[in-house]
Assembly symmetry: C2
Homo-oligomer: 269 residues x 2
DNA sequence: GGACAAAGTATCGCTATGCGATACATTTGT
DNA sequence: ACAAATGTATCGCATAGCGATACTTTGTCC
């Protein structure tokens, strides 16, 4: 069942604070490390846990947490048993979504697409080795946590990821494959480099990419890439459904044109 | 038309850096001020604008921006004309939503509610004088930007706000009214203190609150409060629809029981 | 096309600022 | 009731970050 849920795939390794860059501001990096300590937990954290997670001393953690608390980026858990992220982070979510030009341009297209298909429609954006979901139009069935903004999936084994890789050079694809931590997220996850490359070639030919249960059992997803004017893939549009209602072939025949058309509309210029 | 859109209501005034607190970490406050500079803009910001907005010198802004950029919290705009928030902020969004117990508990109830009503269903959480939307299950019609996570509305003139105030003492209500910047967001916005108090009393009697076009023209919203075990209101569940399809009375009769029931289910314990 | 303006980048010395060490208070569990 | 763990507070030193300034690049106007 729950092969996935908690994990963040390929979250960039906590950027080392003391890299050579002289323009680096320690305290800020520390603050972000503290906030990032929550990425790997499912429950509120104590001060010591935060300190450990973010690799700094108790004192430092204490002061950072204190400050972030004042600012509303960290809160005490409801029953005062630990710390959790604060509501102020949502303000920045809004800013990100509002100011990202791709999200802005894509959203009416996504809404329209959602009207035509009764399945879930997602917009994901590339960040290194992963795709981060930025906009999600849920279908009636799934749980809220299957549709969290900010959730991310690896590129190497997802429909959106392969749609993105289809627009990268072979060398870049190889690098993604090499650098990715290719775990079998479900038994169906394709992790073999050669198979992945084959899937990418397939996506190049079709203009869309397909993934079957590679992230979540029972899930089928089809995706097409969104491109910058210069052709760089920035992310993808996904349509995700359930294998309890569709077989792969029908799903493809039905939704491939729609997802390709939606992406195409956004890639013209 | 677009009375609202861009504005953030009652975003806490940029927390002063040099308040008395000796445990205060400047650099972190600075970082957050820089990120918050985007709250008030609709376009990418230049370094100077960021510096001005966040009330610090060019140098400081430069260094903070540089750092946040390294960490992925700020990015260059697509066509390199300014800075925008970076995708890393979405990681924290996810953490917030995952770790907030109310969001966790409420989401299945919201999904169920959304299945029964064909209108938009929202969960908002209180933050001072405003309600911040944390979960939004959109209906088919509206634009994506009407349903942004992180968007916030003032308490004094919204259905959710009045549902929340219904569970506060009169003194607390008065304080909210007094401290709020009560603008007429639409011509229908109720800004008169006595009228607001009347609406709150009404909400107390009914167990739900109603608002007609006070934020957005043509919008009708009904809400019920979510409470902590001790009775403190933490937020609200909303059902929002369009007056082009409903008259107020029918809307109420139809949805009041549903929203009250949903909130009730969550308030039992 | 050449000059001017505006945005971004880099450098450097001083001191305000944040860290480590440590000790105290408060809560939790057995 | 005691021990262990968590949160809070204090303080002096060294360093990390700020202001001032100057350099480079990019865009715009005539």
């Amino acid at each position: 069942m729950r092969y996935v849920q908690r994990a963040e795939y390929g979250v960039p390794p906590a950027t080392s604070v003391d890299d050579g860059d002289p323009l680096f501001v320690q305290a800020i990096a520390r603050a972000m490390q503290v906030l990032s300590a929550f990425h790997d937990t499912g429950k509120p954290l104590t001060l010591n846990e935060i300190a450990a997670q973010s690799g700094m001393g108790r004192s430092a953690a204490q002061r950072v947490v204190h400050t972030l608390r004042q600012l509303g980026y960290i809160e005490r858990d409801a029953d005062d048993r630990g710390y959790v992220p604060g509501i102020r982070v949502l303000d920045h979510t809004r800013d990100y979504l509002r100011l990202n030009p791709l999200v802005v341009r894509a959203s009416p297209v996504l809404m329209e697409l959602r009207r035509n298909v009764r399945e879930r429609v997602d917009l994901s954006l590339r960040d290194g080795l992963r795709l981060v979901y930025a906009a999600r139009l849920q279908s009636k069935r799934e749980t809220f946590f299957a549709t969290l903004v900010g959730q991310s999936v690896p590129i190497y084994c997802t429909s959106g990821g392969r749609a993105v890789m289809a627009h990268l050079s072979d060398a870049e694809v190889d690098e993604i494959i090499a650098r990715s931590d290719r775990r079998e997220i479900t038994p169906k996850t394709i992790t073999d480099p050669e198979e992945i490359r084959a899937k990418v070639r397939e996506a190049r030919e079709n203009g869309y990419a397909l993934a079957l249960e590679e992230i979540l059992q029972g899930e089928i997803a089809i995706a097409a890439a969104l491109l910058a004017p210069d052709g760089t893939p920035l992310g993808a549009i996904h349509i995700a459904g359930s294998l309890s209602e569709w077989d792969a072939e029908t799903y493809c025949r039905r939704f491939a044109p729609l997802v390709a058309e939606a992406a195409g509309a956004l890639n013209r210029f």
